[in-house]
Amino acid sequence: MSPVLKLIAQRVALGLLLLFMVSVLIFIGTLILPGDVAQSILGQSATPEALANLRRDLGLNDPPVQRYFAWLGGVLQGDLGTALTSGQDIASVMWARLENTLFLAFWAAVISVPLAIFLGLLAVRYRDRWPDKLISGVTLASISVPEFLIAYVLMFFIGVKLRWLNPTAIGFRPDADVLSKLEAIALPVAVLTLVVLAHMMRMTRAAILNVMQSAYIETAELKGLSLFSVIWRHAFPNSIAPVVNVVMLNLAYLVVGVVVIEVVFVYPGMGQYLVDHVSKRDVPVVQACGLIFAAVYIGLNLIADIVSIVSNPRLRHPK
């Protein structure tokens, strides 16, 4: 078997094991949290009778282990179950939410990844001169400020004062045409781009600078190639592996870590769906979201590993 296939098989098996462990951890976590779903649904206005009735209806009187395996059995047959709080089918609601999140993440990635790599190359080209310092300064500043603050600042100046864009994403309709959807998410995409830019840009810069110390770069320079083509043709391909790793990490963040951005901009994605259900202790939904998020992380890391191998001839053709 080729090493790549072997690696994929290993990683997928490991990933499945991880997913199982994640589901156990999430289940235990929601058990440890104070209060249960019945109390959370009824809130301050809970009467003992209403509580007892709701607990019985939701099956909360069964022992936790039995509830967990009932859930696991359903998932293995592709049934994510129904939400305890609203009785909705989890799968259908969640896929619609996931689609929205992926739409946001996709456009944030389309803008931020090429931009980050280009800025990284530019920073190397003008190393230690003012463009490098400006790029590093601005991106580091934007990653250092909490994302919700960037969101509020953009919302106020661009949305309310200048009126260039809508301050919130409430105009987003899944069935609208792409253009009006893009208009609705312009600000969240801008904030996400600012948040992930620095990490990818710095990694690109560092990886390429590392490669630039090599002898073959010196050769390329002595051949008389221009600095930018040395970087692009010789240095960049050799630094793909670390760059892809950090890009994948940031893509995972764009899907999994956008909870705050989704809540601030009122975007109907997975983040808000998850937050609502965690605060209500709706275990099946939290489990389902946790599984999806974990799968995204594991899947993207798998891709990063494969790309590192494919891009490295020594790993591609082991002795």
Binding site: P34, A50, I170
Partner: protein
């Protein structure tokens, strides 16, 4: 000048002049901007509601986990959605009186034990089905049933039997209650076909709108019900968006993405009101922020400790610094002027000397632990810190313990002996007292057990003489004020805001925020 102002008003109404221009010209005539605004809204009012258009709202409180079943409604958004499609038997009038809704009239036996509600003639549900007395009985049945989860259970528990007789619904109570028409108007008790027993979340009722799009916790769209019997609902379309983030909600209003929002944070309300196209509406209501002590747990089982803490709080400071002036001082009872039979008691003031005196008299000199969290009311940890400072002035050692938001209502409130909390209030005294201060109440969160108070409460229910009844409530207020476990420093105002795209706001409507949640149904696109 008056003639000229009238002329200007007419021009604005005819769409020949902008609101901003009007205010500018009025200023030239020596009229202040605020007064000009008021004049204009009166002029708009006088012109009468316009039909059609879309009202877009951004409200806080909705969640993906909500249900359309009115029995399970717990938040502002769920209430607003019920207001669109459904109606109860009765409703609260602007002045706190009670009027018929699905019921066109109601009456009681002389002892207020048997009540008759007559269902409005020719009323139909939005699916075309006529509304019958049987539907009303079935609704009461469903909320009172053995396996109910209804938020109205506490109200409906006192009903012994309900039966239909032609167009009449005859309700027999376990014990007399003169307030039944108030209680039966609760929003959970929206009348549904067959009581909603077949489809509790079908959202079919007699309301002015019909739900067209429902995305829980995100967005609701409703169209005018063409067969609606009453005069509510001027816009053709209502669009309700759930915006839980305070900053986003205000930004959406400022930029014109929505026309109306609720819960403007008091801290920024003054800034929001400065924008020329935005009107901030302040309505005093029965909601109050509280510090609650368990009267059966040491050291709070000693009334001197309770009195010491009551004298050790600076109420005006709380209104100024926590509510930023959007509220009024409380007086250690849950009742204020928004209740129909309110009697004012002498106001208790911050008095460190009396506080120190009562503390010394109690013989307790240990620390007192006060638990608080951000979600117990907005600014609760700050209020606790202020309380700590003012108590220190009386030599009382108050320790503030910060608890997590998560699980506060299940683990701290109604469990720990001293904590911060809030009450939304109720339409009538009886309901507020029965909910939280009767010895046997489920939510007696101060563990207040007073025989005289209980007797007065039961007696007042059967008392149809308004004067005597008012005196009874005043006596009960005095008992709570002097002996209760409730420290009520402030009543919070509702702060809503709308853009000048909308007209028809009415000041001082009793009940919940947003004109008792009727704002989208009573306002119109100007």
């Amino acid at each position: 000048m008056n003639n000229h102002m009238d002329y200007l008003k007419q021009r604005v109404l005819a769409g020949l002049m902008s609101r901003r221009e009007f205010i500018g010209r009025a200023g030239a005539l020596g009229v202040s901007a605020a007064f000009a605004n008021t004049m204009l809204s009166h002029a708009v009012h006088a012109a009468g509601p316009k039909k059609g258009g879309t009202i877009r709202m951004g409200f806080q409180g909705g969640s993906t986990t909500d249900s359309l079943d009115p029995a399970l409604a717990t938040n502002q958004v769920a209430l607003m959605v019920i207001r669109m499609w459904g109606e109860s038997l009765t409703e609260l009038g602007d002045d706190g009186s009670i009027q018929g809704k699905v019921a066109e009239s109601f009456s009681s036996s002389p002892d207020a034990r048997i009540w008759t509600f007559r269902v409005r003639q020719g009323l139909t549900f939005s699916n075309g089905q006529p509304v019958t007395a049987e539907d009303v009985v079935a609704t009461i049945d469903r909320h009172a049933g053995e396996d109910t989860k209804s938020g109205a259970l506490g109200i409906i528990r006192g009903i012994k039997s309900a039966k239909a007789d032609g167009r009449d619904v005859i309700i027999e109570l376990e014990s007399p209650n003169a307030d039944l028409p108030y209680l039966i108007g609760d929003y959970h008790l929206a009348i549904q076909p067959n009581g909603g027993k077949d489809a509790p979340d079908a959202a079919i009722g007699t309301g002015p709108y019909i739900l067209k799009e429902v995305e829980m916790g995100v967005r609701f769209v409703a169209e005018k019900n063409p067969n609606y019997w009453g005069d509510l609902g001027h816009a053709q379309t209502l669009e309700l968006l759930v915006i839980n983030d305070n900053t986003a909600r205000v930004a959406a209003l400022q930029s014109g993405q929505v026309d109306m929002i609720d819960r403007v944070p008091p801290r920024t309300a003054g800034l929001v009101a400065r924008a020329p196209n935005i009107n901030v509406h302040k309505t005093s209501g029965p909601g109050h922020y509280v510090f609650i002590m368990h009267c059966d747990t040491a050291p709070f089982d000693n009334n001197d400790v309770r009195l010491a803490l009551k004298y050790g709080i600076n109420r005006q400071e709380m209104v100024d610094k926590i509510l930023f002036g959007y509220g009024s001082v409380g007086n250690d009872t849950p009742i204020n002027a928004s209740y129909p039979m309110f009697t004012e008691l002498p106001q208790r003031e911050y008095d460190p000397e009396k506080a120190a005196f009562h503390m010394k008299k109690s013989g307790y000199d240990g620390p007192i632990v006060l638990r608080t969290s951000d979600n117990s009311f907005p600014g609760a940890p700050d209020a606790a810190a202020l309380f700590q400072q003012s108590c220190a002035g009386a030599g009382i050692n108050l320790e503030v313990k910060r608890e997590p938001n998560d699980g506060y209502w299940s683990e701290v409130w109604n469990k720990q002996p001293f904590c911060t909390s809030y009450w939304g209030g109720r339409p009538v005294q009886d309901q507020m007292f029965s909910t939280a201060y009767l010895s046997s109440a489920d939510w007696n969160d101060t563990r207040f057990k007073n025989e005289q108070f209980d007797q007065l409460l039961i007696a007042a229910r059967a008392e149809l003489d308004q004067g005597k009844r008012k005196q009874m409530y005043a006596d009960m207020g005095t008992i709570l004020h002097n002996e209760g476990g409730l420290i009520c420093p402030m009543f919070n105002d509702f702060i809503d805001a709308s853009s000048d795209r909308l007209a028809g706001w009415v000041e001082g409507v009793n009940g919940f925020a947003l004109m008792n949640s009727y704002a989208p149904l009573r306002m119109w696109v100007a």
